[in-house]
Each structure stands twice: as structure tokens, then as C-alpha cells.
């Protein structure tokens, strides 16, 4: 299994090369001259040229890609033409914020979705099933940004239970940086007050974000449970007297879970790409907001950085899912 993991990680290299090449190509195919924009509307031709030389954008494209790609390896992911900050430094701050949000949402979605799907399948075509199917479809159809607004309206504006947005109050000192996940950092620092504050800020955005993976996981789990319930071994287990509960929560669950796992992996990537919407609503300082700002100003380096980072996390999460699949399914061999 270790060898398999290492091989999968090595296979990442060509994918990353392809990804960076693709991102680089797309960003240069698009119209718009970021240097001109960065130099400002009053800039003279000479000023623009000197800025271009400074940023290296006057060189031929292959040379630019080469220095970009070698930079990536060394942790130099280019810099923003607007803020002049290295993209890598920004990502170190913003990526953990987004990951914290996505992971919180996925944990919620998995924790609720798996049992909900199982129950839905057991009651197939009776009212609990209809209810959960209708609700899941509604949840999938619910725009996350609209749901976020409704949650804000209810819990932050009318009930005043939770903060409106942000990750942590500006006036307070956040816990010292360890993982970049504020909840974990607060626990590491032993600061329960800060942990509660971080959790409160996390609650609404995570809820807004978890709804559609929750619904998809429920649907997937329902479908795969129904599939498993048809299997001969379930009949054998019933014929030999095992209780419905044991069959369902032990024997059926593990089989159905391995089919659902793939969806969970795909969703991590999908959520990462879609955090923009929730981050916009809740002013969550993650890569989504960061990318939006860069996109609007046509500042390509940060956009490329974010895209690559999401691609890497996506590929890694699929690797984790594949490994988990092997743990659940003894027939899978890592060779």
C-alpha cells in the first residue's frame, strides 16, 4: 500500500505539469493585458514597458512558462501584479481558510447523508423515502448563495445568534498560526473561547455549503443501499437469522459505503471550486474571494495559483478516497 501511494504520488507529476501548462495557456489565450491594467490608466507606454520587463512578461511564452514551472517547484508561484505579494504567501493564508470550510461542510454532509440514505433505502417507496428524496432534490437545486443569504437573514440578522460573516472578529487576536485552521489552532493554543468564536463563524457558511453534498451523498447512499439490499448475501444473512439492524448497519452499510465513497471524493474538488459563492456571501477570507478579486482585476498569477492549488487538492482527495476504498474493499489490490 505504501508503494502504491508513492506511485500514485509520482503519477501526480505529469498531471501537474499538464495542469500548469493548461492553466498557463488558458491565461495567455484570454484577451486583456494585466500589465497595462496594473500600470494604471495614466501610464505611458514607457512605464508599461518597464513594468513588463520587471514582471518578465516581455519574454517569449515558452521562456515564461519555463520560469513559471521551475518557480512552482521552488515555492515561487509568481506574484500578483496589483499587490506585488507572492501568490504562495497569499495561498498559505487563504487555502487553509477554504479547506477548513470545505472539510467542515463535508464532515456534516457525510455524517448526516450516510444514515439518511440508508434509512431512505430501507423505507424505499414509502413516505420517509419520498420525503428524503424530495428534500434532497430540493437541496441540490438550492443555490448555495441564496441559502447563505437566507441563513444570514434568519440567524444573523433576525435572531442575532451567529455572526454575519468573516472568520474571526477583527478586533480580537486570532490564535497563533499552526495549521491555519482556526478551530484547530484555538484548540492547540488551549483557548476554548477562541474555539467557540471560530466555530460560530464557521457554522453558517458550513451549513450553506454542506447542503448539496449532503443531498448528493444521501441520494447516492440510497441508490447503492438499494443495490446492496438486492444482493444474494443479504438474503443469506436474513435466512440465517441475523437481525435487521445488524444486517443494515454492519453488512449492508460497508458495502454501500464503498460505492458512495467515489462521490465524496469528487465533491471535495467540486466544493473547492464552488466556495467562491459561499465565501462571497459570508466574506470568508478564502481562496474563492481571493480568486474573485484577482479575476475582476485580470490579475492572472493569483488565479493560476488558485486553480493549480485546487487541482492539487482535488487529485490528493481522490487519492485518499482510493486508499479508503481499498480499506473498505478487500478485493482491491494495490499493485
Amino acid at each position: 500500500m505504501l508503494i502504491y501511494t508513492v506511485r500514485r504520488l509520482l503519477l501526480l507529476i505529469p498531471v501537474l505539469v499538464g495542469l500548469s501548462l493548461l492553466v498557463f495557456t488558458i491565461s495567455h489565450l484570454l484577451p486583456g493585458d494585466p500589465v497595462k491594467l496594473a500600470a494604471g490608466p495614466q501610464a505611458t507606454q514607457a512605464e508599461i514597458q518597464s513594468l513588463a520587463r520587471e514582471l518578465g512578461t516581455d519574454r517569449p511564452l515558452p521562456a515564461q512558462y519555463w520560469s513559471y514551472a521551475t518557480g512552482l517547484v521552488k515555492g515561487d508561484w509568481g506574484q500578483s501584479v496589483l499587490t506585488r505579494r507572492p501568490v504562495w504567501d497569499d495561498l498559505k493564508i487563504y487555502l487553509p481558510a477554504t479547506l477548513e470550510l470545505v472539510i467542515a461542510a463535508m464532515v456534516l454532509a457525510v455524517a448526516i447523508g450516510l444514515p439518511a440514505g440508508l434509512v431512505s433505502a430501507v423505507y424505499a417507496n414509502r413516505w420517509p423515502d419520498y420525503l428524503s428524496r424530495t428534500l434532497s432534490l430540493a437541496a441540490i437545486s438550492m443555490p448555495r448563495f441564496f441559502l447563505g443569504l437566507l441563513l444570514q437573514l434568519a440567524f444573523a440578522m433576525w435572531l442575532l445568534w451567529l455572526p454575519l460573516g468573516g472568520r474571526f472578529p477583527i478586533i480580537d487576536e486570532p490564535p497563533p498560526f499552526v495549521t491555519g485552521f482556526l478551530t484547530i489552532d484555538a484548540l492547540v493554543a488551549g483557548d476554548l473561547g477562541a474555539f467557540a468564536t471560530a466555530l460560530k463563524h464557521l457554522a453558517l457558511p458550513a451549513a450553506a455549503m454542506c447542503l448539496s453534498p449532503l443531498a448528493t451523498i444521501t441520494r447516492m447512499m440510497r441508490a447503492s443501499t438499494l443495490e446492496v439490499l438486492q444482493q444474494d448475501y443479504v438474503l443469506t444473512e436474513r435466512a440465517l437469522g441475523l437481525s435487521q439492524r445488524l444486517i443494515l448497519f454492519k453488512y449492508v452499510f460497508k458495502n454501500a459505503l464503498s460505492a458512495t465513497l467515489t462521490v465524496i471524493g469528487l465533491y471535495v474538488g467540486w466544493l473547492l471550486g464552488g466556495t467562491v459563492l459561499v465565501e462571497t456571501v459570508f466574506d470568508w477570507p478564502g481562496i474563492g474571494l481571493y480568486a474573485t478579486k484577482a479575476i475582476v482585476t485580470q490579475d492572472f498569477m493569483p488565479v493560476m495559483g488558485v486553480t493549480l492549488a485546487i487541482g492539487v487538492v482535488f487529485i490528493l482527495s481522490n487519492l485518499v478516497v482510493d486508499l479508503a476504498y481499498g480499506l473498505l474493499n478487500p478485493r482491491v489490490r494495490y499493485e
Partner: protein
């Protein structure tokens, strides 16, 4: 009192096309120690009869129209689910056709066997050789030891190690042995085996049949064995029931039935003893069509294929008549042809 007695069992099955009357008054009396073979063409209702005994036919889509299934005199169709569960695995064991699909692929075989043993031990602690007050841990340990012993009994070499293997690590024949061990781990009185060798290689079939035979004799088990193979019945069974389109058309001790078959269908079956070329469940050389079970004819269901059919056959379902002690036939011409 018979160990198992099925009386006038009628079962209907709903599907997209409508409701089919798939079991049409099954009568079967099985005494302790008897080994019954149930034979008949594909789709005649053998499996549904077997599953009905453990009440494993899903309702809906199925519906019991009439009849009773008495196990030691108790009507199982009226029993609660908890009562049924206490019987399953403990008093009634079952083996199915395909060993590759009947073992849960993602659990170690020991896991599944231990759970069955624990269940049986819950119904009757003597199965595990413990008394009621034994701790959970002691039960688990005893269940595991029992699982290993059962694997040894069914001829799995190196059972103590293999108990922790997954199903895919066994060959087809070995898997069926595991399933047999699992069905017998609760020391049942009645074993229902639904075509236990059909899915196996021909070379393995004989071994598995011999194994079942030895275990049955050792433990004094009562067996209902569903099969297509009359040869199996002749070798293994004491009694035989012949089914056609939801009816038992002939039943009795093997010797008189085979020597002196009373029903034209039984004769046809015996004439068509499968050779290597015939497909499973196919009856060679018997023309005609099986009547639709959605609108069954009022008379004998075999009349459409029967060479001896007369007008009398369409009048009403023929009643069972006894030709010799224990050997009865449902045909108006019984004994005359």
C-alpha cells in the same frame, strides 16, 4: 407430529404485468429424519416454496392467499418476525445456489459465521456450549472457536487461519463449504438447500453432495433439497416431490415414485434425465407451453403438454390420490396409464 407440514399453500406475486398465482395449493409433509428432494422445471415455484418455509418471500410484492406452514405444529405464516428470527439460523438452516454471491464480499468469513453463531447462541446458549450467564466476550470466543470447528468439519484445510480470510480468497467449491458450515453452525433441525450444487463445477458437485450427505447423516438432519437433478434425488434423498407450475403433482418415497411414476409429468422428467448438452432447467422432448400463471386454467395445469389429456382434465384441479402408502399423485388418470 411432522417436523414440517405445508398445507394448501397459495402464493400470488405482483409484477408490472399483473398478479401471478405462482403457488397453487402446495401440500408437503416432512417428518424428522427424512430427506426430501423437490424437483421441477425452472419457474415452477421450488425456490418460493423453500423461502416460504423461512418466511423470506418479500410481501409485497408477494401475497399469501391461503394455507399454512406448520413447523412442529406452529403456523409460521402467523408467527411474529421475532419468532421467525429465533427459528432462522437456529432451527432452520438454508443454503443457496451461488456461493460466489451468497457470501458478503467485504467481510471475513469468520465475521459472518461468528455473527450467525452468536445469534443462534442467543436463542439457545447450548449451541455455544455456554450457559445463559456467559459474558459477551466469552460468547464471542466460543462462537469463533465454533466457527473454526465447523470449517474443519466441512473440510476446509488450515481452518484456524482461513477463518480470517475473505470470500474471494476461496474457490467456488470451498465457498460453498463455508456456506454449508455457516448454515449448520447454529445446529439446525431442518436444512433447506436450494440447488446447492448447480453453480459449481461438475467435478466439485459430487464432493459437495457427499459432504452434505455425510453431515446430514451425522447430525440426523431433516432436509428439503431443491434440485433439477433426478440423479441427485436418487442418490441422496429418501423422498421426492415433483412440482409443476405451482403444484406438487407427485410425492412420496423415492423408490416407489421412481419405479412406478404415476404422473405423466414425472415420466417426462425421468425420460429427460439431463445429458451434458441440455441447459439447466430445460426439459428435453416435451412440447407444448406452460400455461400463464396470470390467468391459470381451472383444470390440470399440465394438460396443455400432456399426451394423455382428456376433456376431464380441464374440469377442475385434480386432487391428490394415494397410489401406495405415502405415494400420491395429482392426476385423474393416476394408476391407469
Amino acid at each position: 407430529m411432522a417436523l414440517l407440514e405445508i398445507r394448501n399453500l397459495h402464493l400470488a406475486m405482483r409484477s408490472f404485468e399483473g398478479e401471478a398465482h405462482v403457488l397453487n395449493g402446495i401440500d408437503l409433509k416432512v417428518d424428522t429424519g427424512e430427506i426430501w428432494g423437490v424437483v421441477g422445471e425452472t419457474g415452477c415455484g421450488k425456490s418460493l416454496t423453500g423461502l416460504s418455509i423461512s418466511r423470506l418471500v418479500p410481501t409485497p410484492p408477494a401475497r399469501y392467499l391461503a394455507g399454512e406452514i406448520l413447523f412442529e405444529g406452529r403456523d409460521l405464516l402467523a408467527a411474529s418476525e421475532a419468532e421467525m428470527r429465533a427459528l432462522r439460523g437456529r432451527r432452520i438452516g438454508m443454503i443457496f445456489q451461488d456461493p460466489t454471491t451468497n457470501l458478503n464480499p467485504v467481510f471475513r468469513i469468520g465475521d459472518q459465521m461468528v455473527d450467525v453463531a452468536l445469534h443462534a447462541g442467543h436463542a439457545d446458549p447450548a449451541v455455544l456450549g455456554l450457559d445463559r450467564r456467559a459474558s459477551g466476550r466469552a460468547r464471542r470466543k466460543a462462537a469463533r472457536a465454533l466457527a473454526v470447528r465447523m470449517l474443519e468439519r466441512v473440510g476446509i484445510p488450515d481452518a484456524a487461519r482461513r477463518v480470517d480470510d475473505y470470500p474471494h480468497q476461496f474457490s467456488g467449491g470451498m465457498r460453498q463449504r463455508v456456506l454449508i458450515a455457516m448454515a449448520l453452525i447454529g445446529k439446525p433441525d431442518l436444512l433447506i438447500a436450494d440447488e446447492p450444487t448447480t453453480a459449481l463445477d461438475v467435478s466439485v458437485q459430487a464432493q459437495i453432495l457427499r459432504l452434505i450427505h455425510d453431515l446430514v447423516v451425522e447430525d440426523g438432519l431433516t432436509v428439503v433439497m431443491i434440485t433439477h437433478n433426478l440423479g441427485v434425488v436418487a442418490q441422496l434423498c429418501t423422498h421426492v416431490a415433483v412440482m409443476y407450475a405451482g403444484n406438487i403433482v407427485e410425492a412420496g418415497p423415492v423408490r416407489p415414485v421412481f419405479k412406478n411414476p404415476g404422473h405423466p409429468y414425472t415420466r417426462a422428467l425421468m425420460a429427460a434425465v439431463p445429458t451434458a448438452g441440455t441447459k439447466r432447467g430445460e426439459l428435453a422432448g416435451l412440447p407444448g407451453i406452460v400455461p400463464s400463471l396470470f390467468k391459470p386454467p381451472p383444470g390440470c395445469r399440465f394438460a396443455t403438454r400432456c399426451a394423455h389429456a382428456t376433456a376431464a382434465c380441464d374440469l377442475g384441479a385434480p386432487a391428490m390420490r394415494e397410489l401406495s402408502p405415502g405415494h400420491s399423485v395429482a392426476c385423474v388418470l393416476a394408476g391407469e396409464i
